[in-house]
Symmetry: D2
Subunit: 365 residues, 4 copies
Amino acid sequence: MAYATTSAPPLKIPATMRAAVLFGPDDLRVVRKPTPMPGPGEVLVRVAMCGTCGTDLKIQAHPFPNQPPYGQFIPGHEWTGTVVVLGETVDEFQVGDRVAIEAHKGCGRCENCMVGMYTACLNYGSVAKGHRTSGLTTDGGFAEYVIHHVNALYRLPDDVSWEDAVLVTTAGTGMYGLDAIGGYVAGDTIAVIGPGPVGLMTLQLCKALGAERVILVGTRKSRLDLGAQLGADAVVDARQGDVVAAVRSAAGRRGVDVVIEASGAPEAPQQCIEIVRRGGKILVLAYYKQPVTLDLGRAVREDVTLYATRGEGGNNVRRALSLVAQGKVRGRDLVTHQFPLDQIQQGFRILRERESDPIKMVFVP
Amino acid sequence: MAYATTSAPPLKIPATMRAAVLFGPDDLRVVRKPTPMPGPGEVLVRVAMCGTCGTDLKIQAHPFPNQPPYGQFIPGHEWTGTVVVLGETVDEFQVGDRVAIEAHKGCGRCENCMVGMYTACLNYGSVAKGHRTSGLTTDGGFAEYVIHHVNALYRLPDDVSWEDAVLVTTAGTGMYGLDAIGGYVAGDTIAVIGPGPVGLMTLQLCKALGAERVILVGTRKSRLDLGAQLGADAVVDARQGDVVAAVRSAAGRRGVDVVIEASGAPEAPQQCIEIVRRGGKILVLAYYKQPVTLDLGRAVREDVTLYATRGEGGNNVRRALSLVAQGKVRGRDLVTHQFPLDQIQQGFRILRERESDPIKMVFVP
Amino acid sequence: MAYATTSAPPLKIPATMRAAVLFGPDDLRVVRKPTPMPGPGEVLVRVAMCGTCGTDLKIQAHPFPNQPPYGQFIPGHEWTGTVVVLGETVDEFQVGDRVAIEAHKGCGRCENCMVGMYTACLNYGSVAKGHRTSGLTTDGGFAEYVIHHVNALYRLPDDVSWEDAVLVTTAGTGMYGLDAIGGYVAGDTIAVIGPGPVGLMTLQLCKALGAERVILVGTRKSRLDLGAQLGADAVVDARQGDVVAAVRSAAGRRGVDVVIEASGAPEAPQQCIEIVRRGGKILVLAYYKQPVTLDLGRAVREDVTLYATRGEGGNNVRRALSLVAQGKVRGRDLVTHQFPLDQIQQGFRILRERESDPIKMVFVP
Amino acid sequence: MAYATTSAPPLKIPATMRAAVLFGPDDLRVVRKPTPMPGPGEVLVRVAMCGTCGTDLKIQAHPFPNQPPYGQFIPGHEWTGTVVVLGETVDEFQVGDRVAIEAHKGCGRCENCMVGMYTACLNYGSVAKGHRTSGLTTDGGFAEYVIHHVNALYRLPDDVSWEDAVLVTTAGTGMYGLDAIGGYVAGDTIAVIGPGPVGLMTLQLCKALGAERVILVGTRKSRLDLGAQLGADAVVDARQGDVVAAVRSAAGRRGVDVVIEASGAPEAPQQCIEIVRRGGKILVLAYYKQPVTLDLGRAVREDVTLYATRGEGGNNVRRALSLVAQGKVRGRDLVTHQFPLDQIQQGFRILRERESDPIKMVFVP
């Protein structure tokens, strides 16, 4: 199956487009806006699909730092689509290329960007200086068209579906974390806590990198079942008994080399400390509503490093996309809900109420 | 299919065993010798199969540094078998466990061993200080029984065949090299020069770690065909035209991120320099008869690092074995010749003359 | 000034020695015991001086895991002295060599030891398998003589004093932590929380590695004054106002690249999170009486890694000793109290009561 | 002594400036040109001093790839000066700031730039895409004024002299190489081959990072003497006897952990292989007129990695500058010749003829 758009005559881009604009707290409405035009190094993308994540709910509840003003701002930071206009100097892409994205573009001039840590850009939010996070500090993908810089764009092979591509950004988050811990987990035993989109993509990445055994911990049977289908070697229901003991038992004699915390549950960090083997690693990819409490002395005694990474930097979306294209990682199984963009309000209502357990909901403009 | 030995009553170990002893240059003969007994931290293994490599031919031609004396020395450094006697303090294994090995054990007291670089042990060859390389500086696997230290031993899952297990040591060489270059090649394009056992195992390891595209370079069609079966995405016949151009063309726009040189051909290092992309890595796993000539200035100009690794240290045999057990890497397809130990002379004659293109020849005691 | 012992005729070692033996909780008494003799790879050292640390108080209060039995056990894990007897195979040292130590020796056969992480040895406490921690799981340095393995021993240059040497083990703890975070802090701004021996040695190490600015945080003026003498560029009194604001102000525009927590204060980990710059590193070298509470989500949002290391592994005592020998790091300024071994009870009473603010107390047998 | 310019009223920038323009092979002439104006993210710098290096001679002999056209191009890639005009968005610097530079700015959009390897930018030479190398692919510092991007600019503390600052770029080359090999050489023994500016700065950096012993190898007594003044612990005259033996002897029992090749001599790479200890590292910072010949098999047998780095990327100029500002590294001792810009032709004649052994010649506009 091939999804490629035929790139024929120069595309006619309409002067206005439909877009979901945030007008105030929890007031997201689809309106018409002028279609933006790309600057140097940028392209215009016709959005095929834009996913949602927990952050989108937070953004709608209260403004994020460096967010564009109410009445203008288009959220949406996990999207895929087709390049339709090239900005000046762009020869990395052609009109008609289907693309996946990373959300972050660094300023390219701060100390962190200089060493490739651009998801921790010290000029975060400064559009003037060149930083952009699509759908957070600049307009994103809940729209027919969106601008993006080529340094955060990856060409899709023809046989990668939109549903797989829309999850590539999420996979990039897991991959960036795995990169931070060394990227070398072949033969390792890994526990993943939290079968949300990040956890379910990261579990697959671990298997694709050769992990021997991945143990998935969660609270919902449906999620654990999906995890098992996606390659988890064992699943642990956190509602049934002692999580630490259950994971250690599932790990066997080897112990758990790496624990990946993707749940955001307040008790999870302490579980990580108790699960990981001496000399092991903890990778935190989740956010917490409150400060967490954990036995840090044990980490010292056991020589444990705790990595906390943000976003999907450093060529990791490229790597993740390659694993998707190789058929080793699937995003499409996570797309449980699909709506036209015009029904974005209904969609977010379902998300807020966790009705019918949506994993990844996408909007199609 | 399960290969596990039933571990029943205490095994009866015969007082003497058959073993191939090196009596002088190219004078390897199967004789009876006393069966050795393991010391603390060691086990006795009943050899199931012992492979050969180019080094074995060199050892027979002229003695290696720190080699045991003629008339006593049993070569053979790639073997697999079953644990039959446990030395003092050993609880990591049980009698009946099937095992694969790494050949090297460090002294555990030099500066390199202290940081895990024990294949570069500064007390190489000093048995008194604790260093051992099976089949090179101590007796090896061309025998019915062999002693090994538990720190260089890995338990085989039941469904790993002897033929797969005997190649795990070779795979460990590739894996150690991949570890040295960062171990994180998912999505990368890699060229492997030299479809011998190291090259063919390393090619598979690269794919198992998620490499997007592996290009195999060789001179024999049969080897390239085998490489393609084992997962090479493209093959380049080095006898047909410009190798560098052919590899670059097969790599496509991405270029070659990593070149792995496993051929030992004198022109190969320069080809590596010309093939690898700016900022890429070269991994050398081969030995050369003569000094090589290469454009080192180009490596500087292009920010290229050249890694040269020896042996199979640092948990990499464990990782390689896991990939074999997961069914992602196969050794058995490389075992082209199998002889009883008593026919070891005939076997080595075939190897020397490269008769019928043996890839991996094994002897069964 | 040269401290070297002249190595003349074979030394006469007395059959018994004085040693401080732990007979029960807080019951440490100096008695006579047989002088031990070194095994293969070990030496006997005539102790010149043995330091104390907080762990010694804990050991006396209640037994540690894998501690030798009451009535036999000699604590003391920070000591220096002169080699007086060589065990079999030892040629790394000569009788008369003055030495500093690291406390840990790994088993050399577990998975962590194989990659050089022997302070996290999976056979911790198993003397049979080869693990030893001097003064914790085997007899230590509160004695006239002590056995040690050569792989944890470092020869002192002639001009390094005993007082400097006794702190080398402590410096190794800081150095191992700095190694874990990359070892490359030249030009960086670093905050060190806790001016105890570990903090004061680590502060000096940071300067010796080229840190541009080290800010020391503590609660006692005398300690902060000493820190300033030892090279701290700024000091912050944690009892005066907002620690986070004060450190940030002292750091200037650069921000704090690395925070090193060496205090064990319950509020310190959260301060680390608030002090470190985006993309920075936290190194924890302290132990805590209770679980700690911290804003882990902020670490994720800011791409911060938290390293927790134990002990002084991986050639780091050698490196630390070199910096001491180069005159860049001083231990002697920390030796505030010196007693004969026979007064060990009085000494520990002073330590328990923190009388006259001892920094490092040493006992001379 | 303070070198700071008082930043008073807005500076009056003349419409034209004097600059050395390359009109053809070896035809460098000082002419008047329009003073350039900085774009967004850039500043205009009043040049205080611009150094020369071997590359400048090569540029004048034959054009480099991506060099601006004859009649326009101003070379000079090692310079220092004072910021006089800020481009749009620049708040990192103020008018009056004295600055040092790194020569390279990456495109910020290729795969290498994304991970911080911008000196190996895949869009090298493409000004349109954002790449710049001052004095190589864009106008440089042999002029009264020069444009530079803020991401390659570092503020000088007041007490750093222009002579020290002009060598900071060179120091950055050594520092980037040291970063590549791990940046952690405290306590190590290091050999530096080649006492040119790169070698002499790198020797000092090694000492400033805590190296125990640095051995400098060269052919000219005056250079070796200067090296000894700058901190070399031993010097080896390559014209007197066996270099390898002499270095090994000077290294003592420890052996040489790292060899840094900064000479470009054809025999030096093989010497590196023979000098470095098992498991050690070789860092190549030089360029070669011809392919070099070396015993690569020995590198494999001895587990040796060969790093080759280009330029001064990744925050390393910042780190090097900090060491200069701390007084641990001196550039001024290398400035042997200083001429007004108008005498640039005479200067280069002296350089070409190696008259009076210039180490670093600078031109003052």
